[in-house]
Amino acid sequence: MTAVPPPPAPAIAIRQLFFTYADGTEALRDISVDIAPRQLFVLFGPARAGKTTLLRLLNRLSDLIGGTRQQGHVRFNGADIFERGVDVTDLRRRIGMVFAMPTPLPGSIRSNLTFGLRMAGMRDAAALEARVEQSLRQAALWDEVKDRLESSAFALSGGQQQRLCLARSLALEPEVIILDNPTSGLDPLSTAAVEESLDALKQRYTIIMVPHSVQQAARVADSAAFLLDGELVEAGPARELFVNPRHKRTEDYISGRFG
């Protein structure tokens, strides 16, 4: 018998999480799952399964919606993010987010990248400049934009805009990056570029991603969770979940029988 090393402490531990919108829609029911550090965790399932709701709970963007009810815990490095007195701005700096559609802010490429840092109080121009270059390189965008950092972020192509948004999150040096279907509006080449960046980034960051398709999920995931109608059907290492799903509903969805 070989000794199995104990699994690393999860970066994010979700426990008995329930979430209901103001109109009574039960978006999440009894979700419990561990997300391991420095891996790419994929959250997949059909439309309205609760994927985006779950993502937005993790950095508490869900706070912006009124009239919701929630129950349960999300522990980030062991500390409950819903506890009173949690610094939400600090939480959002540590858990970055990239949205489904590219969301540049009005202004230059540079100002997009430095905004979060300036708001956090970073003033040193050289340090800001270093972060700009570093984050653009990580998002594989540096060579394309290094000569026009002052031009408008809206002048970039859709694929470039999405990588800019990724770089913008990376500039804050977060611990976790959440990506909500980041390649939905992108052509195959841009999609491949983003996937390639993610593969490199998971060496340093915990990545949580809602994929564009099951195929993409199977391509990029280290571990995965299948959500259906607000419930977690199953979760586990990707090589098991996509090859030998334990549940019939997972198998049906993966093999394209519904969804």
Partner: protein, 281 residues
């Protein structure tokens, strides 16, 4: 009548009544310009009235109106923009905010003479400001508030939600988000509302009647606790209270007031279109 005929008829009728909208404004402006243009010259704008206001110029009244407009801006700007930010960004949808909204709508519907009487009671008498620029500016400022609040709130709400979400997701606080990604984009709309509100305030007679306006002041006010002459009230005075008034003086004064207010409205429109064109999304 066939469908085609009724269509043609409808289009003609709509065009006809639309033309009717343009006619009165052209007539009013044309009439005032035709009768007043002969009087308005540099002396008219820069000299005080002489001979019991039957000759000379309108300088103290023109200056007084500009000072009152500036004072109104000082009163209405912080309160108006603050309330708009509160309503659009912080206040939820509850009984309290609905009451505030209802109050604003009703504030806009109060007749201006009632504002004048309120200003007399509250600022001139109760707060002992006397008949003064302060009392007038406060009265006009309150009257202008609803316009400023509702246009500013509308402008703030028109900023795409996505900017707020993104800014917050990057660890900005609520206020940083408003300061950097909401107010800059709402500025054209806010500015338009302020200028329109000030334009209306500059042309009002009733609110300043009891609070600030002087019948005739040979000297300019020296402090904000002095009275001042003002164009709308001066026009009222020389049109009804002074016998033997040359018509040219009246129409000249009306023309200056009209141009002042129209130029404010026009600049509001220009600012809005210019800044909208610069928008990137």
């Amino acid at each position: 009548m066939t469908r085609q005929q009724s269509h043609t008829l409808a289009v003609r009728a709509i065009t006809a009544v639309s033309v009717l909208v343009i006619v009165p404004i052209l007539l009013v402006i044309g009439y005032v310009v035709a009768h007043g243009i002969g009087t308005v010259d540099w002396t008219f704008l820069t000299q005080p009235p002489r001979d019991g206001m039957r000759a000379g110029g309108i300088m103290p009244a023109l200056l007084g109106t500009l000072v009152l407009a500036a004072g109104t801006a000082v009163v209405t700007l912080p309160a108006g923009i603050g309330a708009a930010i509160f309503l659009a960004e912080y206040a939820g949808d509850n009984r309290m905010t609905r009451a505030v909204r209802l109050a604003i709508v009703n504030l806009a519907g109060i007749p201006s003479i009632v504002y004048g009487l309120f200003g007399l009671g509250a600022f001139v008498l109760f707060l002992r400001f006397g008949t003064s620029i302060v009392a007038g500016a406060l009265t006009l400022g309150i009257m202008t508030l609803p316009v400023v609040i509702s246009t500013a709130e509308e402008a703030i709400r028109a900023v795409p939600d996505q900017f707020r979400t993104v800014s917050l997701s990057l660890g900005a606080t609520r206020w940083q988000t408003i300061r950097h990604h909401v107010l800059p984009h709402a500025l054209p709309g806010i500015l338009t509302g302020i200028i329109l509100g000030l334009g209306r305030a500059a042309g009002e007679t009733a609110p300043i009647l009891f609070t600030v306006a002087a019948f005739y002041l040979p000297e300019l006010p020296r402090s904000i606790f002095d009275q001042t002459m003002a164009l709308p009230y001066h026009l009222y005075v020389i049109s009804t209270q002074v016998p033997g008034m040359p018509l040219g003086m009246q129409y000249g004064t009306a023309l200056v007031l009209l141009l002042l207010v129209l130029s404010m409205t026009l600049s509001a429109t220009l600012i809005r279109t210019r800044m909208r064109r610069r928008r990137e999304w």
